[in-house]
Symmetry: C2
Subunit: 234 residues, 2 copies
């Protein structure tokens, strides 16, 4: 039996997961995307994710996740989003935008869909270099979830484990963008900003990491809005 090339892609509509989507298609996976609306401020991401799927010709499911508890500035519109003093400070601590259990939940839903659909893999855009410092983006966490995938499913117990594929885990933001540009990712359609405005704020951690990445590739951000407004050293 060959490799099961059916895969569920966890798609946020941001730069990273968009790159994973195109990576999967390029590698010959029969991809289906799973998009989450979990009450995030930047629900605009959800629209970006759907637009990306249409562009890539990939079917998707969008589901709402009910997290009635708070615990994150990403969900609570009243709290202030953090702003690192310099982009180097980002990732040194776990910021207030951390959503308790987010990637555990996303991967669990991905696992459930993958097993129900007979898919062999769940893909996630987690990366642990130019990232916000979230605990659930790090390699040891991904490895722990992979064990859960093996032990917690019928597929895994029957010797057909559903894999977690995180192709960006050890890439810098610039390396991700270079990869995506090769693959033809329409970054114009992606949305990275943590706030929910019409235009990216240019000052939140996510905007800053994106600006740093494009700056290092010496390419303009096609979304055209991610110029760095804060005077921080890149």
């Amino acid at each position: 039996m060959g490799l099961n090339k059916k895969a569920v892609i966890l798609l946020s509509g941001g730069l990273d997961s968009a790159t994973v989507l195109y990576w999967a298609v390029n590698k010959g996976y029969r991809a289906q995307a799973l998009i989450f609306d979990y009450g995030q401020r930047h629900r605009r991401e959800v629209g970006s994710a759907k637009a990306l799927c249409k562009k890539a010709g990939v079917p998707y499911r969008a589901i709402s996740i009910n997290l009635p508890w708070q615990g994150s500035s990403l969900l609570d519109k009243k709290s202030v989003l953090p702003k690192a003093k310099t982009v180097k400070d980002i990732g040194a601590h776990i910021p207030s935008t951390y959503v308790p259990g987010r990637n555990t939940l996303f991967l669990s839903y991905g696992l459930s869909l993958a097993e129900a659909a007979g898919a062999g893999a769940v893909m996630i855009g987690a990366n642990a270099l130019d990232y916000s410092g979230y605990p659930d983006c790090r390699p040891d966490f991904i490895a722990a979830m992979a064990k859960v995938f093996r032990l917690g499913t019928r597929a895994g117990r029957q010797g057909r484990p559903i894999r977690i594929i995180a192709p960006l885990l050890k890439l810098t933001k610039a390396q991700i963008i270079k990869l995506g540009n090769k693959l033809g990712v329409p970054y114009k359609l992606t949305w990275s900003c943590y706030s929910g405005g019409e235009k990216p704020c240019g000052t939140c951690d996510s905007c800053l990491l994106r600006a740093k990445g494009f700056s290092e590739t010496k390419k303009k951000d096609p979304a055209g809005l991610y110029s760095q407004k804060r005077k921080t050293k890149i």
Copy 2:
């Protein structure tokens, strides 16, 4: 710093998690229950879970989980529920009532609530002796999730891991019922049957395991309905 005695109890309304609820209260935990409606046939469980919380004086949250994919006879009303020939056959194979990723999802939601609420533990009624054979009820799975709890959270990374407590993991159904009777669990309020009728069917795996448990304790099931209708050897 003493042990964090705030705990989230995953409560289905069945016999096992009801016992865990009373166990937690008896051990001095400040319990809050988390109840899931995930489209199960036996949604009557949800009402049982709420009634148990009211009886025990424990606050609860009930949330809906959207699993638009099927993959289980427990969700698909058109499929036939499995019936083991004898109660000994139950658990030998993973039955069609298995819901892909269910306990992974439940524990992930529990993790998210626990971290947001500052709780130190998530409790689950999983047991792996008189059980249906589900992969996500076994000790190695619970251990793998405990590692996810340590690595995937701010709390865990900061040295305050949220524990998974599964006090029934290695008890037989009869031992669970004996424990619950000591603790005063109102088993009359619990619901175990997989089908969604007015009365328990008395023939599904779950009814059969319950009947076996009460039979071994030589006590009558106070719900009064779980007499064994099938002529199977216990």
